[in-house]
Symmetry: C2
Subunit: 362 residues, 2 copies
């Protein structure tokens, strides 16, 4: 991935020039990982057209050298990363205006820039790296595809073991175990495991509620490999589904299908959202779809771009987004069907493939 990272750093430098910045201080860990490969939790990254420095602590000495020394000069600081930054910057000439990540720097650290770093001009910047991250390269898409395959394998295994009387926490434990055995190196978020009427809560966490025959089971979870995430949802019924469950599921299935087939790079986020929403509105279920259609995924499970009624941004070529329409009826239940799709410049690719027909678990 060294070539990819060199390319990313070059793209960042182009953006610095456009913003009249002599350098930039990157503090958000996912942005540091994207640019340098470093996966530790404590680091500062300084980048300019001439040099790239990663400052971290002694715990990460070996790891930083292995992950990042091909694209960055690694500096290990015994006391404070900030002390390391001031020492580093003092050695540089021609560096005056420096960008910082306004959305990712706490006020307390901003005060450090003003007080200890008063020799430089600090300029708030937003989305400098996030914009680059939204356009995935082939290596990134391959990792999300692999994370999707891990999720599908774990889903299959988990569904085959669901029995009446198991609690949401029991099912969650089986799912997490299956994800680990399939090779997931992290849970991108705590799985949502919701049974019966709790499936109407879009953010339900697993509880001690036990599933009974005839009830919905909604599983919304992801896998991770090489730092990249997948994010999928399926809703099934334990035993026989009734006609209202079938009708609701079929509507969401159709909304998912129409959006998957119709979405394209270059659309606005709200145009993507409308693909699914119009299907549900035509069936009188528009009011029951209370969230946006999806979001970008990559190193984080929620990143740019957004797909929602209010999203005016273009979906960039190369982005990977979730397609997750849902219908939620309070006190009764809900259905959501979620897939991950790569919006390539010359066509879309589905990264998560698992039946979207209504499964009735025996």
């Amino acid at each position: 991935m060294s070539g990819a990272r060199t390319h990313r750093l070059a793209a960042l430098v182009e953006r610095l020039v456009a913003h009249h910045l002599d350098g930039v201080l990157i503090t958000a860990p996912p942005n540091i990982r994207y640019l340098t490969g470093f996966s530790g939790s404590n680091a500062l990254l300084f980048a300019s057209a001439r040099e790239v420095h990663l400052i971290t602590d002694f715990r990460y000495k070996t790891q930083a050298a292995v992950e990042s020394s091909d694209v960055a000069s690694v500096r290990i600081e015994e006391s404070s990363l900030w002390a390391g930054l001031w020492k580093l910057l003092a050695t540089m000439t021609g560096v005056e205006a420096i960008g910082f990540e306004s959305a990712h720097l706490p006020h307390r650290d901003f005060q450090r820039l003003l007080e200890q770093g008063d020799r430089w001009h600090w300029r708030p910047a937003t989305e400098l790296v996030e914009d680059l991250r939204s356009r995935k390269d082939a290596g990134e898409v391959a990792l999300i595809r692999a994370a999707g395959a891990i999720a599908m394998q774990a889903l299959q295994e988990t569904l085959s073991g669901v029995r009446a009387g198991m609690s949401e926490l029991d099912i969650c434990g089986d799912l997490e175990r299956a994800l680990r055995r399939a090779g997931s190196d992290a849970h991108p978020f705590a799985p949502i495991v919701a049974t019966g009427p709790r499936s109407a809560l879009p953010h339900a966490r697993a509880s001690t509620r036990a599933i009974a025959p005839g009830e919905f089971l909604l599983l919304d979870f992801g896998a991770s490999t090489g730092g990249y995430c997948s994010d999928v949802t399926r809703t099934v019924v334990l035993g026989r589904a009734d006609s209202r469950q079938r009708e609701t599921h079929e509507a969401v299935q159709e909304a998912n299908r129409v959006a998957r087939v119709g979405i394209r790079a270059g659309m606005l986020g709200r145009e993507g959202d409308a693909l699914a929403r119009s299907v549900l509105e035509a069936r009188g279920m528009g009011e029951l779809f209370g969230h946006g259609l999806g979001h970008g995924i990559g190193l984080q499970v929620h990143e740019a771009p957004r797909l929602s009624r209010l999203a005016e941004e273009v979906l960039p070529p190369g982005s990977v987004v979730t397609i997750e329409p849902g219908v939620y009826v309070p006190e009764w239940g809900g259905v959501r069907i979620e897939d991950d799709v790569h919006l390539g410049a010359d066509g879309t690719e589905l990264l998560t493939d698992f039946t979207r027909e209504l499964l009735e678990l025996s």
Copy 2:
């Protein structure tokens, strides 16, 4: 817990008076949860001597009412929480100087205070709520004790299933499943599962490495219930331990014991650290103990106070801390034994009880 939360809010108001603040804006989710019980991810909390308001979005309407309406006025905002804050503050008289959480407010949101909230005087504050959180009440200690019991149960079950050839990820999956089945409502952090020489890495994540007979297995993980965490570590050997493994384990066991028995509220953080460190130094292993002895736990898995060579702060009565000495030999392996202890005003209580003898798994 309503009485406890009323008490916490009253203690916060006392601190506002001492800091000459008319009110405070709380933005860190764990601090909001501590003061109001609200467990959602998107909220602003404003508190003054006269009123307490929780501003959140429509997704949390029911949840916020259930969790927090006994201590706070809940306001649901359709668009932006910040717009809700300006509307709210405009209705108040006698509120001029308002504190904000300098360590938890990104620069971008600080700019909002200056630009949209320029009618008020914003004063950076740190540790206002964190200091209160470090002194646990009986209800909080009970939850950490329960989270400890869940962790012990899951550990017992996981160790009984370990066999040669299982990968760290396999074991991690079994552990996560056992935690869920025992009732853990979240994983406070990704479990550390390290075999053989990887046990020398204090922050190793589970990998595909398979365990072989005669190797160390280090498990560092936690459980959660009611939002409160436990954090424990045990190091065992698969099959028969050799003399060096025994000697290393015995040294860490003794360091753990001396620190558990000797630690008291009112000591400095560095004095607590020294209890364990002196045991290891006397055996020539001081250099191999490369991190601090422990940290506070509660709503977060790392919180105040710290136990380390450099910690000059007093360990407050009521705090709950980890005791986690370790010895790490690069390329060979490491041992860590970690327990959670409540430092009460009239004595300490061990919250995690599981054998600290060297287990040899058959």
